[in-house]
């Protein structure tokens, strides 16, 4: 029971990170109907920006951890958002009216570019960071197993919940959100009604990238080690989460993230850790084949 609870806590923390990334996939898919394959790598870039910003702050003498983390958070969100914006502007916008698979192919190209750019600029070795947020609470002990909720796990879940609420409000209550939902339904009609479609799509990418940067920072703090390749696997899992929750639905992305995080954690805990990625990939295949609309998604009707 204690072991189960501990895995539940771990899974929720991991799932929150997946959920944050999944929002980027789900919003982009909702609005322009493409899989932003490079999103996982934008997350990776965000993690690197966070790492470098943190090291730079330490070097110039900002040693107060909460302040440093806040600055890192803002810096990473802003700079990664610029990356997200640039990727859309360079690789997707020129192909928006091209055939359906064209942007997917540039997205794969962009993903290769980002990975190898970071590899060239920062080196291929893993980048470790000493634990920044330490400590935690012991919930209870059963036998000789103690269930611990660490501070970093609390930080992850709280940050995620706060951001989720903010973005849910943006989508549902502001003019920007309205424009986004309009573009989602019918881009041409939205532009005829005075919605700046290009800008709305750009902002979608910016928001997605900013959330991915938060996920990158949290991932860095949680695992304490990153490399240029993390974006691929994490990206696919987050995409699975987005599909599982119902692509296009923001609460769905969060829910899907939690489910994928829990599945992965429990699989590693009770079965084999080597095959945890197989579990996630199989999950992706099963979900896409049997529930392509996901938990909270709308069925897609193909018109001829």
């Amino acid at each position: 029971m204690a072991y189960f609870l501990q895995q539940l806590v771990n899974g929720l923390a991991l799932g929150s990170i997946y959920g944050l990334i999944a929002i980027g996939y789900t919003m982009v898919y909702g609005i322009i109907g493409m899989i932003n394959f490079a999103h996982g790598d934008v997350f990776m870039v965000g993690a690197f920006i966070a790492l470098i910003a943190f090291l730079a702050l330490m070097a110039i003498g900002v040693t107060m951890i909460p302040l440093a983390l806040l600055i890192v958070l803002i810096l990473a969100m802003v700079l990664t958002a610029v990356w997200g914006w640039t990727v859309e502007r360079v690789a997707y916008r020129p192909l928006r009216d091209s055939f359906r698979l064209a942007p997917l192919i540039t997205a794969i190209g962009m993903s290769i570019v980002l990975q190898n750019f970071i590899q060239v600029a920062q080196g291929a070795r893993v980048k470790p960071l000493q634990p920044v947020v330490t400590g935690g609470y012991e919930l209870f002990t059963e036998g000789n197993f103690t269930v611990i909720v660490s501070n970093i796990q609390i930080l992850i879940v709280v940050t995620t919940l706060a951001l989720m609420t903010i973005f849910w409000l943006i989508i549902n209550r502001t003019a920007l959100g309205r424009a986004q939902r309009a573009c989602e339904q019918d881009r041409l009609m939205a532009s005829l009604s005075g919605v700046n479609v290009d800008r709305t799509i750009s902002i979608t990418f910016v928001i997605g990238a900013a959330l991915a940067a938060v996920a990158g920072l949290l991932y860095l703090l949680y695992y304490g080690v990153i490399d240029f390749f993390i974006g691929f696997i994490v990206g696919i899992k987050a995409f699975t989460a987005a599909v599982f929750g119902g692509i296009g639905s923001i609460p769905g992305a969060m829910l899907g993230g939690l489910v994928i995080g829990l599945i992965e954690t429990f699989w590693s805990a009770y079965f084999t850790i080597e095959y945890k990625d197989v579990a996630a990939f199989s999950m992706l295949a099963i979900v896409l084949i049997f529930f392509p609309t996901g938990l909270l998604g709308r069925p897609e009707i193909e018109k001829v």
């Binding site: 109907g33 690789a91 698979l101 190898n116 696919i236 992706l284 392509p292």
Partner: protein, 516 residues
């Protein structure tokens, strides 16, 4: 963007604003990830500032964007026009001739200066510019003198003849005149290129003909390679028996993996095939009892020439002793070259014949419109499965060849990046175009490999410059760039499989593939 034909002052102003903005964005992009490098210190990571690199990167973006704005985007006569005209049949006007002759003059001047002051970097750029203009003018001249020759056919036949005679001729010349050519390297590179040509043609069946985006093609490559490797090392079977078995095993896997994904469309299908590809790789990596895990399988036998091995040791009759030749390691490599050439041609031949069969027509019909296809009574399940299986079959054959060529395989060779490379070859070549795929494979694989051995790059980027590091980066940039420049691929036209009177090539834009 300013309108073309505006006064220079306004153009200058708007170009400056635009490129300043681009410079700011570039600074934001590169400030942390390029301007500071993480290095392993004694007490953990430390940072090493690289302001020079950051300044260069931002400067390139700023200056490049400024020049593009001024001379290409915001003017009624973009400076790129004459260079583009080199590849068309449009007549040159006065300005074109001025630009081209200025480029040529600058190129010659660059060569002279680099020779006098010993600046190899400038010489390299000058050579590239002169070569580009020279070849373009040569092309124009030929087209002008013989306007009606069937150039595409000449090109194809020439390419095939070159592929057939290149190893024998160069080998004979080298041995006859003792030239000391780097034949080993040439043949290895050509084998690599041909492997990708074959993989590209195989994937072209799935992506180009049937319109199913497959991101896990490398899985079938891996199945073929491991089938042969396991059969050879455990049961001592030879290459020729295993080749069809490996192909069939891969085709079987194609059906097994294809079956569940039939209901998915477009990009969902792509992601699921990617997932399957990764699952197979992870299983190969972790199922150590069978696959030996990350250590891979070594000691895979080489193919024999109708039972005659290519071996230096005289245990029975070898290839060399049977034909009364002196043993030469290149014989085996040349045999491998012809083997993959035959396999690649087989792939191409089967594809071309398949396109004339009802099933091939069904593939193309399904690519154009799946719903209409179903409404006309075509069984899309069978159609998709055969496309998957046929593509997988050739992937498996290529995998079998890969295993025997390398003599050693490990899961590392079958990562997603391989699938991405093969897919990009198909897409960049122009989906469905056999010639385009071959050209793309030569350019993308051979071109980048050649880059690794270009002297002079070191002199531009410093002595420690290793182009291999930048290979994948350039690959990705090329993938994005070519896709934006020519979304339909390098060869964007295809001749229709069936037509009423003449089979005129149509632009790829007219084909409604996947367009929403």
């Amino acid at each position: 963007m300013a309108e073309p034909g505006k006064p220079l002052g306004l153009r200058l102003k708007s170009a400056l604003t635009d490129s300043l903005l681009a410079g700011v964005v570039a600074f934001a992009l590169f400030s942390l990830v390029l301007g500071l490098r993480t290095v392993d210190g004694v007490t953990g990571l430390t940072l090493q500032p690289r302001p020079d690199l950051l300044a260069i990167a931002v400067g390139i973006v700023f200056v490049g964007r400024f020049l593009l704005n001024l001379f290409v985007w915001q003017t009624e006569y973009p400076l790129t026009t004459p260079f583009a005209k080199l590849f068309t049949r449009d007549a040159f006007d006065k300005r074109d001739i001025t630009v081209l002759s200025t480029t040529a003059a600058l190129g010659v001047a660059g060569l002279v200066i680099s020779a006098i002051f010993n600046v190899p970097a400038l010489g390299l750029i000058a050579w590239a510019a002169l070569l580009f203009v020279g070849l373009g003018l040569l092309r124009r001249l030929i087209v002008h003198v013989f306007p009606d020759l069937p150039y595409a056919q000449i090109f194809i036949v020439g390419g095939i003849l070159f592929a057939i005679f290149f190893p024998l001729t160069s080998y004979a010349l080298d041995r006859a005149f003792n030239l000391g050519l780097p034949l080993r390297y040439w043949f290895d590179l050509s084998i690599l290129v041909l492997t990708y040509v074959m993989l590209g043609w195989g994937l072209n069946i799935v992506v180009g003909l049937a319109g199913l985006l497959d991101l896990g093609y490398v899985a079938f490559y891996a199945v073929g390679a491991y089938t042969f490797a396991l059969l050879a090392t455990h049961f001592g079977l030879g290459f020729w028996i295993c080749l069809p078995i490996a192909g069939l095993a891969a085709a079987l896997w194609g059906v097994i993996l294809g079956f569940p994904v039939l209901r998915l469309r477009g990009d969902y299908l792509a992601i699921v095939t990617l997932a399957f590809g990764e699952i197979i790789r992870i299983v190969l990596l972790n199922w150590t009892e069978v696959t030996n895990g990350p250590n891979g399988i070594s000691g895979i036998p080489k193919p024999t020439f109708f039972g005659l091995p290519f071996s230096p040791f005289a245990e029975g009759t070898t290839f060399a002793s049977f034909f009364g030749l002196k043993y030469d390691a290149l014989h085996g490599i040349m045999f491998l070259y012809y083997l993959i050439l035959v396999l690649a041609f087989l792939t191409n031949f089967v594809t071309l014949r398949m396109r004339r069969l009802p099933i091939g027509r069904a593939w193309e019909a399904m690519r154009e419109d799946e719903i209409a296809c179903r409404s006309l009574g075509i069984n899309t399940t069978v159609t998709k499965l055969t496309a998957f299986a046929t593509g997988a079959l050739f992937g498996g054959l290529a995998g079998c060849f890969f295993a025997t060529r390398q003599g050693f395989i490990s899961p590392e060779s079958f990562s997603f990046i391989e699938s991405a490379i093969i897919l990009s070859i198909v897409v960049l070549g122009g989906m469905g175009s056999q010639l385009g795929v071959a050209i793309a494979a030569v350019v993308m694989v051979g071109g980048f490999e050649a880059l690794r051995h270009t002297d002079g790059l070191q002199s531009i980027f410093g002595a420690g410059f290793d182009p291999a590091l930048y290979r994948m980066l350039l690959f990705g940039i090329a993938m994005v760039g070519i896709m934006i420049w020519r979304p339909r691929g390098l060869i964007a036209s295809r001749s229709p499989t069936i037509s009423l009177n003449d089979a005129n090539a149509v632009s790829g834009d007219l084909v409604r593939q996947g367009r929403r």
